[in-house]
């Protein structure tokens, strides 16, 4: 079941012209700065906003075709929508909230499935409470269960973490990961946070100023220098998928192998063979021409410079290929001149620190590349 979206609409001065596809399984992030058209796009998919022109199709079913004057009403689209502000019904207990959609779908969830989803989201202690007595994170978990039990053909999550503070975000994120793993349907995840996107998504659609700037696998998009201004200059970095190969109990480190080398990470609590995704921020990477021996860095890789990007200013962003994996480094313009770093040059890549994004099942990368 794939989702194909293409629409054009005008909101005052703001023109939207957006087209992308979403894979049958896994999480596709709609990523972009605020005002890029993210929420308008999910609302167009859900039917809460009717675009002036457009065609939206989900798994062979036309949801919107302005030329044929087809627009399936919201309540018949069968999309599980998790809103930024949860939107639980205040006059109903949690239990009645999560069963609201279940009672209105032809695809009635079995008692076992209801139990499973309550367990998945740890809702048992909350069932008899009213939404007013829940924390922000709890509300989002209830909203997720409610959407999942409404017999949806896909899930739309519109910045479900945006209204939560830091600790609450971290409380809900593991549930979102569970949801992404458990749901056998396409998931569209709207976010302006690159942390959330690299942690949860398999593919990214980058939106900017009402249009699609790029779409493709997370690692490919994150490694593209031309998208740097959008993918977050300071936080930007390459996303790498790998597998745990072994643990070093004495030094509390775990080794991860990926296509392009091996890296040591702070000890991971998972069996060797477990898939992990991590992000190497460009500002945490140092480039060297000779292999440094007397250094505190544990992780030194070999690579070839592929591409450079220099906007006016102090820094140059460098894309380095280590095997099939693309890493990014942010160095000063002065260093670039001194080391004569140009495309094709062989370099040593020193990784200062690594952000672990995700562990456990990772949807295999899609065969065709969205680039």
């Amino acid at each position: 079941m794939t989702l194909a979206v293409s629409y054009a609409h005008r909101l005052g001065e703001f023109a939207l012209d957006i087209a992308f596809t979403v894979e049958a399984r896994g999480v596709t992030a709609l990523f972009g700065p605020s005002g890029s058209g993210k929420t308008a796009t999910v609302n167009a998919i859900a039917g809460l906003m009717k675009p002036a022109r457009g065609h939206i199709e989900l798994g062979g079913v036309t949801l919107l075709d302005t030329e044929a004057q087809v627009s399936v009403p919201v309540h018949k689209r069968r999309l599980g929508y998790v809103f930024q502000d949860a939107r639980l019904f205040p006059h109903r207990k949690v239990e009645a909230n999560i069963l609201f959609g279940a009672k209105r779908t032809a695809d009635t969830p079995s008692p076992q499935m209801i139990k499973d989803i309550i367990a998945l989201l740890d809702l048992t202690p909350l069932l008899q409470r009213y939404p007013a007595n829940l924390s922000g994170g709890e509300r989002q978990r209830v909203a997720m269960a409610r959407a999942l039990l409404s017999g949806p053909r896909m899930l739309l999550l519109d910045e479900p973490l945006a209204s939560l503070d830091g600790p609450r975000k971290n409380e809900v994120l593991p549930y979102l990961e569970r949801l992404a793993d458990a749901a056998a349907m396409p998931i569209v995840y709207v976010s302006h946070s690159i942390d959330e996107v690299t942690r949860l998504a398999d593919r990214i659609v980058v939106l900017n100023k009402g249009g699609v700037a790029a779409q493709g696998d997370v690692a490919d998009i994150m490694a593209r220098l031309d998208l740097f201004p959008l993918t977050g200059r300071f936080e930007a970095g390459a996303v790498v998928d790998g597998r745990i190969t072994r643990h070093d109990a004495e030094d509390h480190l775990s080794e991860v192998a990926f296509d392009g080398g091996r890296l040591w990470l702070p000890a991971l609590e998972a069996e060797p063979g477990t898939a992990v995704r991590f992000r190497v921020r460009a500002r945490d990477v140092i480039l060297a021409l000779a292999e440094p021996h007397m250094t505190s860095a544990n992780n030194i890789l070999r690579g070839v410079v592929k591409e450079l990007r220099h906007d006016a200013g102090t820094f140059v962003d460098v894309q380095v290929a280590c095997g099939e994996t693309l890493l990014l480094a942010r160095i000063t313009h002065r260093s670039r001149k001194r080391l004569e770093i140009e495309p094709g040059r062989e370099v040593f890549v020193i990784v200062k620190s690594i952000n672990l994004d995700r562990r456990g099942s990772i949807t295999p990368r899609t065969e065709h590349n969205g680039r």
Partner: protein, 231 residues
């Protein structure tokens, strides 16, 4: 004898409660529809409709009664038709008194319900629709229960106001003992009668107690509404 009230006075009290009760119940669904229209829809004649809904609030009740008499009296355009085809006569009947009360107190209901509707987050209705609820399902299972405190507050206020209705009733359906002589009309009649002061005072005390009770109930409902709409 009950609380020192005479047979006729008890009759007036019973009639008042019946007329006001029926007036509120009949006007309630219409008021909900009107409030929904005004709160949720934008249309060209909105200001006019809004004005018409609130007209009874500023119009002298006597004018209201006169208009009803002209339109619904046995010689009126609608009244004569109702009389000839369905045999329904409002004039000199308690149903006419209820109709006059319903119209005069209609704005109280609409205002309270509209306030409650405005307090409902429209996002909740959107959420219900994404969960498979059609427009009517959504209206009865989300909008209506959330507006319920407003409906109750509006009904109580309208009931209390209706108990005090005088001008419209006496103009439209006259002052017939046992049929249209409600509490205020009975007070008026008592004052007109020699030696009626004691009866007038008893009835006036009763009216004050009823009105105060109604307002207090409505305040409780309003407080409930505030608690409900906060999430």
């Amino acid at each position: 004898m009950w609380l020192g009230l005479s047979e006729a006075e008890l009759q007036a009290l019973g009639l008042s409660l019946k007329v006001s009760g029926v007036a509120v119940l009949v006007a309630l669904p219409v008021a909900f529809a009107a409030a929904l229209l005004l709160a949720r829809k934008e249309f060209p004649a909105k200001t006019l409709v809004d004005g018409l809904v609130h007209l009874p609030l500023v119009l002298p009740p006597v004018v209201m009664g006169y208009l009803l008499l002209v339109v619904l009296g046995v010689n009126g355009p609608i009244g004569s038709w109702l009389n000839e085809t369905l045999g329904i006569r409002f004039v000199f009947s308690w149903t006419g008194a209820a109709l006059a009360s319903a119209i005069v107190t209609f704005p109280f209901q609409v205002r309270a319900i509209r306030l409650a509707l405005d307090a409902i987050d429209p996002g909740l209705e959107q959420a219900a629709r994404t969960l498979g609820a059609g427009p009517l399902d959504c209206l009865f299972n989300v909008t209506l229960p959330l507006a319920l405190p407003g409906l109750i507050a509006g009904a109580i206020t309208a009931f209390a106001a209706s108990l005090g209705q005088f001008g419209a009733i006496i103009t439209f359906v006259s002052n017939v003992p046992g049929e249209t002589r409600t509490l205020p009309l009975a007070i008026y009649s008592a004052i007109q009668t020699p030696d009626g002061e004691a009866a007038a005072a008893r009835l006036a005390a009763l009216a004050i107690a009823l009105a105060l009770g109604g307002l207090m109930l409505s305040e409780v409902a309003a407080r409930r509404l505030k608690r409900w709409s906060r999430q």
